[in-house]
Amino acid sequence: MADSHTHTSPAPDTATEHTLASLWHVVVLNDPVTLMSYMVLVFKKVFGFDDTKATKHMLEVHERGRSVVWVGPRENAEAYAYTLQQWHLTAVLESDETH
């Protein structure tokens, strides 16, 4: 990641209502181009994170190459991945079973 509302979010996190097997992780991957300030902005816009939480996830992406930014049902996870893609961030979905 490089130094430096359109809010189409799906429904709120209802992960606790689902079994573990049905949970999916939305994982944002690092790239060397995206500005840190941009990624913080995206996390705030898409997930409603405050500055502290958005920055924490951004630093995780920057330092570890990835960050799990949301966990929940597949359908919602896909909607989040789509929204992140609209912001030109690369996001993958991983089943809870892989974690």
């Binding site: 060397p32 816009k45 893609q85 030109h88 996001a91």
Partner: protein, 153 residues
């Protein structure tokens, strides 16, 4: 509606516009960030891609529209709540595309830090790198003011 007006140096920015336009053209039919989600229904995937391409093209058109007759007359561009986020996204898409095209031989570490020995670059790469930095500057500027711009919309 609140807006930010930025006066740019025409002699510096004008030569970058051809690179920006060319990069934007190459994005007409492909996404700046390839779809990360692989295991989805092919029809669903196609619909996603079409929608994403449409919004990406709209973003690029909004960015390119900044550099109109008025810009060439005054050197001024204007950002507001309506176009700010869209332009920030267009800049992100273009920077990703420059990385994959004109800057593909530049090491990721160098792109990430922005510290590049420009004398090692070809003329085309140098202009592309200037573009890459220019787009980041626009992004930073808008991001710094985005809350102010939105507050009044």
């Amino acid at each position: 509606m609140k807006h930010i007006e930025v006066k740019l140096s025409l002699p510096v920015v004008a030569p970058l516009l051809d690179v920006i336009k060319t990069a934007a053209d190459t994005l007409q039919g492909s996404l700046a960030a390839p779809l990360g989600v692989q295991d989805i229904d092919p029809e669903f995937r196609e619909a996603w891609t079409e929608e994403l391409l449409r919004s990406q093209n709209d973003e690029l058109a909004t960015l390119l529209a900044l550099f109109d007759k008025e810009f060439f007359a005054t050197g001024t561009v204007s950002f507001d709540a309506e176009n700010g986020e869209v332009i920030v996204r267009a800049c992100a898409a273009l920077r990703l595309r420059l990385r994959c095209t004109l800057l593909k031989t530049v090491a990721d570490e160098a792109l990430e830090s922005g510290e590049i020995a420009v004398e090692t670059l070809t003329e085309a790469q140098r202009t592309a790198f200037m573009c890459y930095l220019f787009l980041a500057t626009i992004q930073d500027l808008i991001i710094q003011h985005i809350d102010t711009l939105s507050a009044d919309s």
